[in-house]
Amino acid sequence: MATNQTAIAVRNLRKSYGSQLVLDGIDLDVPEGSVYALLGPNGSGKTTTVQILSTYLAMDGGEVRIAGHDLVKEPAAVRAAIGVTGQFSAVDSLLTGEENLRLMTKLYHLGPQEGRRKTAELLERFDLVDAAKKLAATYSGGMKRRLDLAMSLVGTPRIIFLDEPTTGLDPRSRKTMWEIIRELLGEGVTIFLTTQYLDEADELADKIGVLDQGKLVAEGTVTELKRRIPGGHVRLQFADSGLLSSAALTFQGSIRDEEALTLTVPSDGSVRSLRTLLDRLDNEAIAVENLTVQMPNLDDVFFALTGTSKNLKGGE
């Protein structure tokens, strides 16, 4: 299968609950085999988006195609192509881990032999072999999430929706979940996840959409997003204060640090602006010992784009 096909295509997706507008015309495309992270504060519409795309919730308007199927006209075909792990684990606590998985294999009509094989494979893969015979009620948060995700994989979905897959998990379980997501990606599965953790989006996503009050306020790769807001700079390190002074004269508006012998020059971090900067240093024959590019981190971008926090804006 070609990897550049579109797994999820959304046009002008709209949804309100009564008079409250939750999604105000969302457009997005997720290519097959990639990870798309929907990033946004609580109440921005992330979960609603996942619920609509996974056929749980009806949309008010718009057009959605999942794995080539129209969401409204062919919900059954969409359901057969997807796996969903919601924000709150949906496992039967009165069944063991193994019984939960066997329940799924039966509902996917896998047949007894294939069902047992698949169950054993998933227990092994999600490190649940030792807990297989224990009731899910006794599982830790991390184990429940792993079982939940394992259950979503029984039907071998091509597209997986993960709604805040690591919310409430301890750091180690989070790392494990990230590894599992990367493994899935290696198998050519498309992943659509929501998160309120910037490092998670940074870590996993090929493309990030920033959702705020029902609108996609920005979309792009991590780097593209970082470039969208000002506040980046280049730090130049010099061998002596003479060179530092000449450089400071060359770059108006830069900030010099006499003690550290560094000069901080505002920059958007693009290759073009770096080349201009280096060319000017060459023209003036100023030797630079060391150069570092400092981009605003994703937190700065997030806060600048969503306006969630007024006091954390990156730079002037």
Partner: protein, 264 residues
């Protein structure tokens, strides 16, 4: 594979899940026998002496009131299945299991059907226990094999109707407490406002109108006739048609509640 086969297979899978869960949580089965058993003891030993005085030639501790009471307790046992069913269904809602099933390619009625069938089987088991306790206490039915089979057939149909009414209550209630309260309307209110424990003739006229024509009375009277030989009259027709109508209404309500859009 045809869609009918798939929906049958999915319902069977859900039913099997209900059994696994019931075995893990035996207290539910235990209490669904204990509650009607306690009501039986309460009505026969505590209140029975006074109530029996109202029956023709009734005597304290005699079999006559027990023979009147036990069919009513059996109907109460079936009605209390509503509570268990509503709670089980509500558990699936509050544990988000329904959210998972709704995004899976499985037949839409399977979960509810599994719960409804599980209720029928659990109720019939409880009823066998209650009849056993009744026999120990002195219940003397005069039913033959055919009457017993007819009685259990009617009870299976009736408890199916009860379950289909309880499933949507479990689906719409936001909390287990809510599901419990709603199901008590079926589980407690309707049996008490029927001919299950006392004769409707002893009630005020305005109440008799409701009591005589509500389906629980028809079911109780039919059961009483089958087991102890009292007159059934037209009651069996109302008992069967009432159960069928309630089951169908409940099924439609359940389909709606399962596919309902969450209001947030």
């Amino acid at each position: 594979m045809s869609s009918l086969y798939l929906s049958f297979s999915d319902s069977a899978t859900m039913l099997q899940r209900n059994f696994q869960r019931a075995l893990r949580n035996p207290f539910v089965i235990f209490s669904s026998i204990l509650t009607p058993a306690l009501m039986l003891v309460l009505f026969f030993y505590v209140l029975g002496g006074s109530i029996a005085g109202g029956l023709n030639g009734g005597e304290k501790g005699g079999t006559e009131y027990l023979n009147y009471l036990l069919p009513g307790i059996i109907v109460l046992t079936a009605a209390l299945g509503a509570e268990v069913t509503a709670l089980n269904v509500n558990y699936d809602r509050t544990e988000n299991i329904i959210n998972r099933f709704r995004t899976m390619p499985i037949s839409r009625g399977a979960l509810s059907t599994g719960h409804a069938l599980a209720n029928v089987i659990q109720t019939l088991i409880s009823i066998v226990c209650i009849v056993g306790i009744g026999l120990l206490m002195g219940f003397r039915p005069n039913a033959g094999l055919v009457e017993w089979l007819a009685a259990f057939g009617l009870l299976a149909l009736f408890s199916l109707a009860i379950a289909w009414l309880a499933v949507p209550l479990g689906l719409i209630a936001r909390t287990p407490g809510g599901a419990n309260s709603l199901s008590l309307i079926i589980g407690f209110l309707l049996p008490f406002f029927s001919s299950a424990f006392v004769k409707p003739d002893t009630m005020p006229d305005w109440l008799q109108v409701f009591v005589k024509y509500q389906p629980f009375t028809a079911v109780t009277e039919t059961l009483r006739g089958l087991l102890t030989g009292t007159a059934i009259g037209d009651n069996w027709i109302y008992a069967i048609s009432g159960s069928v109508v309630l089951a169908i209404l409940g099924y439609i309500f359940a389909r709606w509640a399962y596919n309902r859009q969450p209001s947030r």
